[in-house]
Symmetry: C2
Subunit: 384 residues, 2 copies
Amino acid sequence: MKRLAILGSTGSIGQSTLSIVEQFPERYAVAALACGRNLNEAFVQAARWRPKVASMATEELADRLVARLRDAGVTGIEVVHGTQGTVACSTLPEADFVVSAIVGVAGLEATHAAILAGKPVGLANKECMVAAGEILTQAAHEHKVPILPIDSEHNAVHQCLRVGTHAEIKTIWLTASGGPFRQTPLEQFASITPEQALKHPTWVMGRRITIDSATMLNKGLEIIEACRLFDVRPSQVRVTVHPQSTVHSLVEYVDGSILAQISVTDMRLPILYALAYPERPASNLTFDLAALRHLDFEEPDFERFPCLRLAFEAAEKGGAHCIALNAADEVAVEAFLERRIPFTGIPRTIEEVLASTPEVHPATIAEVLATDQEARQSARALLT
Amino acid sequence: MKRLAILGSTGSIGQSTLSIVEQFPERYAVAALACGRNLNEAFVQAARWRPKVASMATEELADRLVARLRDAGVTGIEVVHGTQGTVACSTLPEADFVVSAIVGVAGLEATHAAILAGKPVGLANKECMVAAGEILTQAAHEHKVPILPIDSEHNAVHQCLRVGTHAEIKTIWLTASGGPFRQTPLEQFASITPEQALKHPTWVMGRRITIDSATMLNKGLEIIEACRLFDVRPSQVRVTVHPQSTVHSLVEYVDGSILAQISVTDMRLPILYALAYPERPASNLTFDLAALRHLDFEEPDFERFPCLRLAFEAAEKGGAHCIALNAADEVAVEAFLERRIPFTGIPRTIEEVLASTPEVHPATIAEVLATDQEARQSARALLT
């Protein structure tokens, strides 16, 4: 029985994780839920799963959750709050495995703390690896803690890497759906609206990640994540546009063999893989290979999607440049969604912020967070 | 340094194996060459590679090879002949690894002897597994001898099986090019000529295997081979038609993940994999994934290709039925190439031979060979 601490339990990955716990009650239980701001969902989850600890974003929300649980006659749940509360969840002695699914750098401290506490981590939060990958992988190495990627691409890579050694890796090929603007003429990019960009062809996801898919910055973050997770150079990572999102990624070995992972586009599968690794429990998440007709692959267009180039450049420089890439994008996406900048303003903002970012390598989480704040400020300064 | 005994060294797989030895002189050397009937090629190979033993099909050919080597001033090679000669090669104490690449059941005794002598086998001969898979896998198990498939499909499966356990296998998907008649209207099958059938769209191979690809009996033999090599039931093996022959096969796991292996269509890759396993030496056999455009998959048409159905039925019955499937096909293909029967006569002959085959399970290689002879005779009797 694995007892889980789920960071970001009310989000999409968190809810999918709980549906896996529901399907495999003999394998998984809930030890802690870090819930954020969604009080209703937090109450439903806490009442249903009876974790030892539940955490809310603020003290006020925590008090309200306590009241609702008391009114419902639910006892025995310690309710905490803030970053400290999330860390209490991720380091809870009763938790055997931490699912890190808080979006953005907000989950960084708790994920780092989980690793320092020796807990295996299922990582769904790509910003953690992008902003602090050097620190997290070093800590994981020192504490002999496995980090299992829950991102569908990196999960696929993790699977494909089991058939060879690290020295035998030639290229990690991340597949990209190409987003909704794969075939949009370049001259129309400046007039793309938030409504158009929020329609993703294959995955239903949060707003920022959907826009990041449309700019392919999302794939750029994954390039950096792959370098850190699998200890490869940026030149060993390539992107292939695969509109069907059926092949989730591929690994090319030095002997010439390429291994690919194929499955349904359902996040429960990589979650189950990470939770059960190295086992593979039988699931109903089957892919109908007999119904497979065509798989298409094409090279990404770096002109349409300058964010890809920016990500490769940031990956080469590492450190502060990766942090700034992510931070500037988050600010720019917000501005785009608020119609303050055009779609093409997103890469432009990132590029300008990167141009003024020093080539330094933050050595602590505090330094990472400070660098993140600086990049956000310089992005905001550009956009006002 | 691995010293190889190559059974069938003058054939296509044998020559590809020697080209791998040439490319990796620090890894591989030649201990024995079982050459068959091609005296010129046998002489060139023996003079080049200086094996300890070389074997020819007959005593007369062996004498002629001795004479040619003597005239050329090549000394120190023991020349033997016949089945005993092949066995001498496959059991040579100086050999560390046996490549079994003699076409048909001719290589069966020597392959069995290699396993009994405790030598790892790279198996390129699918008839061995089809006719005597039960005996060979049992012997390999008892002598703890690995059998590494060199067939591109089974080699792909072997790679994909490294990311899960045996109990986690749901379905092994063998890809099939579909052969030259994938889209030929059913009513034209009776008038297909040997010339048409000998034109394979993706692989250049021997005559029988090319016809077997056109009838898809080849895929049928591979279904049986997969059952034996990987210890799965026929219902766990399925075929998907993939005209590009780029995905060499796939394994579907119970959790819903499917792993696929992709590479160039060059037999040197599976040969290198088998020789080097579990290592992957760097090779120049690279596949240009960036140039990949479309991969197509479709369900096989059991009406056009009745050999597939016959193979699944034989796989279910096992023993003599698998032997008879292969033997009857070999006789029928010969008759088709000599224009004595139509293309559609191949499955008809096999079906009739299978109908009169008893459900027995030969327990020794001698019994296998006797059953094989009986099936050939009953096929010949049908065709005269």
